[in-house]
Subunit: 144 residues, 2 copies
DNA sequence: CACAAATAGGATAAAATTATCCGAAATAAA
DNA sequence: TTTATTTCGGATAATTTTATCCTATTTGTG
């Protein structure tokens, strides 16, 4: 469904959000430990999220990654996915046709339509805040 | 969603089904031309489908690939996907956790649950016959 | 200013996926 | 039985994704 990079990016964003609520910046080392991902690779993905304005980085001593507190609730899962994997989750034809639409559908176009729409809807209506709160309250987990 | 190999495998199966209704065997060359895929790679995937008993191969002159006519309607899309991509489409955690279930859910477990179930349901309730008929009647397409 | 602590970014490596090539084996027909 | 045709299967290559390493750059503190 998502690339490894995207999986790491989502989990990292959630962990950063949790810590940003407490005013704490986190490093790639802490993050990769907490989400069980390769550190250097995770750092690359964080750079990408910074470039896409999803998270914030502060260089130098006492630096690290953070998210503006008042941005957490309005950051959608779809933005993270889009930043890392692009729009192929929504737009790529299920069977890889270059053009696949109502006028020229692939054999599974119709059957995929609702599923794809629901996925899109879910990603666009899920925000970082709810995901972070579930982790904090021990309802969900970032690793294992 | 699916691997390239799986996309090719699905399209190839549909094309073979169409021709099997007419009692015609088809070669990797014809298939790859019709579904716009690399020939040798497609041949490998066909071998895989043969090993998984989804299609049938006949070696030698006048040989080729075919599907038993009376098997087409009972062959589910899920069987093809499973043969090539395994069960990860259904079972792999959305965020890559090794264990992700009701007792130990990842942050998006619940939100993915219905989507994943629908996908599974769709794949298990779509058969080769309907896909082949749609192509034959010009309703859907295998390439471009 | 010098130093320590961080992220940024380029180069490279490893692994997985996608793709190609070629000879072996099987089979039908002449 | 020979020949032409066709799948099978192993070896290899190309590409993409995943992952690592090292140096440069930035920045706060003493």
């Amino acid at each position: 469904m998502f690339s490894k990079a995207c999986e790491y990016g989502i989990k990292a964003s959630i962990f950063i959000a949790i810590n940003s609520y407490e005013g704490r910046r986190v490093s790639p080392k802490e993050i990769s430990k907490e989400i069980d991902s390769p550190q250097a690779f995770t750092a690359k993905i964080l750079q990408d999220l910074v470039r896409h304005n999803i998270i914030n980085s502060v260089k130098g001593a006492y630096g690290g990654f953070e998210i503006d507190k008042d941005k957490i609730a309005s950051t959608k899962l779809s933005q993270i996915v889009n930043a890392i994997d692009g729009d192929k989750v929504y737009n790529h034809c299920g069977l890889g046709l270059h053009t696949c639409d109502e006028n020229h559908p692939c054999p599974v176009h119709d059957k995929f339509k609702t599923i794809r729409a629901e996925l899109k809807d879910m990603l666009e209506n899920t925000n970082l805040e709810e995901l972070a709160l579930d982790i904090k309250s021990g309802l969900t987990f970032l690793k294992i």
